[in-house]
Symmetry: C2
Subunit: 346 residues, 2 copies
């Protein structure tokens, strides 16, 4: 009889890295192998969080993410703060107030205890900053070579305020698209750090908790339809998800998309398109035109939104597609990538 | 500058396998490195689930577990059903009604798609059987050799019925200790399957969802103080946790502890003590003596409780310790193991 490892080595159809990259291959895998087995109305929207009725009119949001980032420490953050902020942000993107997180470690035998200590210090600080409590946890240790240093899963629960209904399915023609600042910082910081490229290029992850910013804009407008953090797959993939889920097209303007000069240069150096590079402190806000200026001003007043800009609009024609007006005046389709440009970015 | 891997290889104080085994080493790690950084009143009880107030008198339980079991398919179950039942059981042990699960995969590049399909079929079936919905998920893929086939994290949410207060801190002197059947099946089934030992010894995991059984006994008694599933670390470690958390002693009788002849023989063959072998469908019920017979009868009527037995009682003296009256008439201390007898059992 074959061992599991022998069967593993002999299989024809296999999981490939692209299946975990948040692009088209991921979406197919999830649709064909996972979603098809679990079909239920709560999972149906496939948003960043599920919204659940707990009785007596109480609605909560729930989300989960595993973090397998390499390296575990990078400029602007580490796997610990990332695991807290990432899950806080997924809850915020549903308009929920993040409250409680679970924390589960899979640790490779041999991890220096001082690395674990540094990660826990970071988790503790991040939870305080994001105003969430870590309420339950789990620790597993696997043999050397059965993980890479440490993987962290955080699941989160938030409370959805009464009257809030925000989802990637709710963009409407005429709405405007806002982003709260420069794109591609996180992915490029991690890549430069992993590959030990020029340490003099000062690129730092944007990893941050977005619940404060979101709470400010929800206070001043009830016409916000979509919130989405463009993480794995970047701005390009996130906009494609919204266009498909809402059955609209999205039209963005290249010259309005904020990006740091050094990040742009780094992307060019490595041949990457910044539209597909992961962000961890960015939020796409899609809002009715009527409220767009008010929302933009409120975002600019927040420390995480100083560089906010309107970058495009929602249209009706060519539903499901994303278009970009380039600087030279042409228009190109921004499609969903098949895989990702670099794995293990979060 | 050293790479992360170089630092990893040079460290003096490191994570060892025992840190993940659910015994004394695990408890020290959690206390010294994790809990100390996260101290908050919700985490304080360190039960299988946290109990959270969501407003308007609604209480929910939340729990998380990562499953890293090897092999991923074993007699009586697989990593998929285990991940569903394990989290359902952790919620049930708080007296909560399990409702919603998250599902997060970390997959090793190269996993046969048919293995993923088989696992998803099992998850789907298990969720139906346990009457829970999987509402949100995540899939990460890591390079070959950075995981072992597949790891699964499930977090879960349940609703705690009004008036229910069950915790490992609530055992009281005079209470009786019941278990719903044979111990050590899961751990021995996994070990025999992993080591490819004699396949003619018919040992099968007891992996099962306990929410049905728990709901039956909560219906007929409001004098149940503790529910606990003796998973990693087995019955011995679980009883030690209860004794310490409740500041009582627990006295059990060897001749009342149900165990299958073949499992006992297998333990003897490998030199293992069945008291420390993991279970995945067992529940320790600690109840006031007055209600013990009614609860026992209700358990026996349930398919997962046919072999239920009273195995001991709670005492006041020697608080924090667990004692066993042996078959030959002596008394021995059942201490908490330092590590585990075998890693990656769940």
């Amino acid at each position: 009889m074959l061992t599991e490892r022998e069967r593993f080595n002999m299989a024809e159809d296999r999981i490939i890295l692209d299946h975990g990259a948040g692009g088209a291959a991921s979406h197919r895998l999830i649709k064909d192998y996972i979603f098809s087995k679990l079909r239920n109305p709560l999972l149906e929207p496939l948003d960043d969080s599920a919204v659940l009725e707990m009785g007596d009119g109480i609605k909560i949001a729930m989300t989960t993410d595993s973090y397998v980032i390499d390296p575990i420490f990078f400029p602007g953050g580490d796997i610990g703060s990332l695991a807290v902020y990432g899950t806080v942000n997924d809850l915020s993107m549903q308009g929920a107030t993040p409250l409680f997180l679970s924390l589960a470690f899979i640790i490779e035998e041999g991890l220096p205890l001082k690395d674990l200590k540094r990660i826990m210090d970071s988790i503790s600080k991040a939870a305080k900053e994001a105003n969430v409590d870590i309420v339950t946890g789990d620790t597993k240790v696997v043999h050397r070579g059965q993980a890479d240093k440490i993987y962290i899963n955080t699941a989160g629960i938030g409370k959805v305020p009464k009257g809030i209904e925000i989802s990637s399915h709710l963009a409407r023609p005429g709405d405007l698209v806002i982003i709260n600042g420069d794109i591609a910082d996180h992915g490029m910081a991690v890549l430069f750090s992993r590959e030990e490229l020029d340490p003099d290029i000062p690129i730092s992850s944007d990893s941050a908790p977005l619940n404060g910013l979101v709470s400010e804009i929800l206070k001043i407008s009830d016409k916000i339809h979509v919130l989405k953090d463009p993480t794995r797959g970047g701005l390009g993939s996130a906009l494609n998800e919204i266009a498909q889920n809402s059955n609209v097209s999205i039209f963005i303007y290249e010259d309005r998309i904020p990006i740091k000069e050094e990040v742009k240069a780094a992307c060019e150096l490595l041949g990457f398109d910044p539209l597909y590079i992961a962000n961890e402190g960015k939020c796409i806000v899609i809002v009715e035109e009527e409220d767009a200026d008010r929302v933009l001003e409120a975002m600019k007043r927040h420390p995480l939104g100083k560089d906010s800009r309107i970058i495009g609009e929602i249209r009706e024609e060519y539903a499901g597609k994303v278009y970009m007006k380039t600087k030279v005046g042409g228009t190109r389709i921004i499609s969903m990538l098949e895989g990702e440009q670099a794995p293990r970015i979060c």
